[in-house]
Amino acid sequence: MLSDKAKKEIEEIHGRYHSRRSATMAAMQIVQAEGGHLTEADMREIAEIVGVNPVQVQEVGAFYSMYNVERPVGKYHVQVCRNISCSLLGAEHIIETLEKKLNIKTGETTTDKLFTLTTAECLGSCGTAPMMQINDDYYEDLTDAKVGEIIGKLK
């Protein structure tokens, strides 16, 4: 069930667009922000609100990489950029360091559900490579020591 707060936020968005369907992406973002991921039931409710068939919400969920559809993530979702500029400056090493520190492989979640580690394509922060995003925040100019410090603070 969507929360009343989420429903209210979605209603506020409709005024921005000529068609209700345009609010699909934002509605899904609002719901994901609350629970960390989206379930099929969430998407059915969203479909009803924006006036489309459930499958039309599901296909949006499947297309955009940031929607965690039926894929719970830890409290902290660590995404390390693996594209060109970050790779040139040691992204692979940063990923290895994180795997060791968190004791998981890329794509996994720690048993305490605190961290999920994934890779990401270019996050538009190439001048401060290597970098990672944890939830909403960017962490840039990474070194081993810096990664240790960041993870240590979140643990």
Binding site: V60, F63, S65, E121, C126, D136
Partner: protein, 418 residues
Amino acid sequence: MEKMLLNNVDKPNSEKISTYISGGGYKSLEAALKKEPEKLIETVKASGLRGRGGAGFPTGLKWSFIPKDPTLAKYLVCNADEGEPGTFKDRVIIEKDPHLLIEGMIISSYAIGGATSYIYIRGEFVQGTKILEEAIKEAYEKGYLGKNILGSKFSHDMHVHRGFGAYICGEETALLESLEGLRGQPRKKPPFPALAGLYAKPTVINNVETLSCIPAIVSKGADWFKGIGPEKSPGTKLFCVSGHVEKPGTVELPMGTPLREIIYDHCGGIKGGKKIKAIVPGGVSAPILMPSYLDIAMDFDTLAAKKTMLGSGAIVVMDETTCMVKVAYIVNRFFSHESCGKCTPCREGTAWLTQVLKRIEYGKGKKSDIKLLDEVCDNIFGNTFCPLGDGAVMALRGFLHNFRDEFEYHIERKECMV
């Protein structure tokens, strides 16, 4: 050189409307609203401004395609889906000087007669989204947005729309699909967005940097703008430099500045004094340049003549220790990951290229693999629905053409040449 894009970014609280106004901000909007919209389009045409997203299409000409019928709803969409690997220039404006963009968008909307505009920002830019939303709120409070702006007859609403992880949405028709709540897959053209864009209504889609040039063009005039840089690619340009340089970052320089000057004078040269090996001149879709091209003028036409492109102005520098097979693999993996799946040559082709590049990189390449890569490239190029597949091929061909020996070495010896 007088800057027009990065004037405010180093000021404290540069994102606040008070900072922007105290630096002369929103004066261009005041002046623009006193002019006929048609005159503004003429000014932008005369300035020679070309789209900064990558294609370099003349901005004024794009605007002039919008039908004049006042009964038609029209839209302006700012493409802030900055995603071409190596690109981080629009983010500077979004986070540090959002009002420059907003002022540019209000003026542009007035010129084309648009009552509503959207900023389509990539989902990962959470901070940028918050900053833009706050800046739009400030602009409403000051009367630069909303009903009867500055006492004129022009009313305008502006909204932020977040993408959620899809490189393809930087393609303008995929972006429109996404704005309508669909999967971001490109549309068939024609009809072009100027006639049937968002909700099938006339729509202009411009890049963040392009729209941010508008206030200066209005306040200082078309001739002033045209006086900077080469005649056919005038104005200043944001170059974002990353990779093996001492001082990576975004710099604003006249269009046509030599690559050598950008890398060595403005970005401190190659990291650790190493030798330069290759340069991506305009985002990873742009074929790489060899160091022999360091004196090339960085503008649309000069780079196009050398079979590469200025693209988004994203320069990625690689030093002598870089394995080109690995870089080619990383770049191709990206395109395969981001292929939207709509057309077969791109969806299957980029995945196949990645598979072959991966096995070469990991020492399992076959002798026939280079020929196979060439063949798959030939079957993708020119056969895809949108430029993503072509971009993947252009990038890979650049690596294969300039570093074929490294690919052969990798296959034979099962290790890097470097």
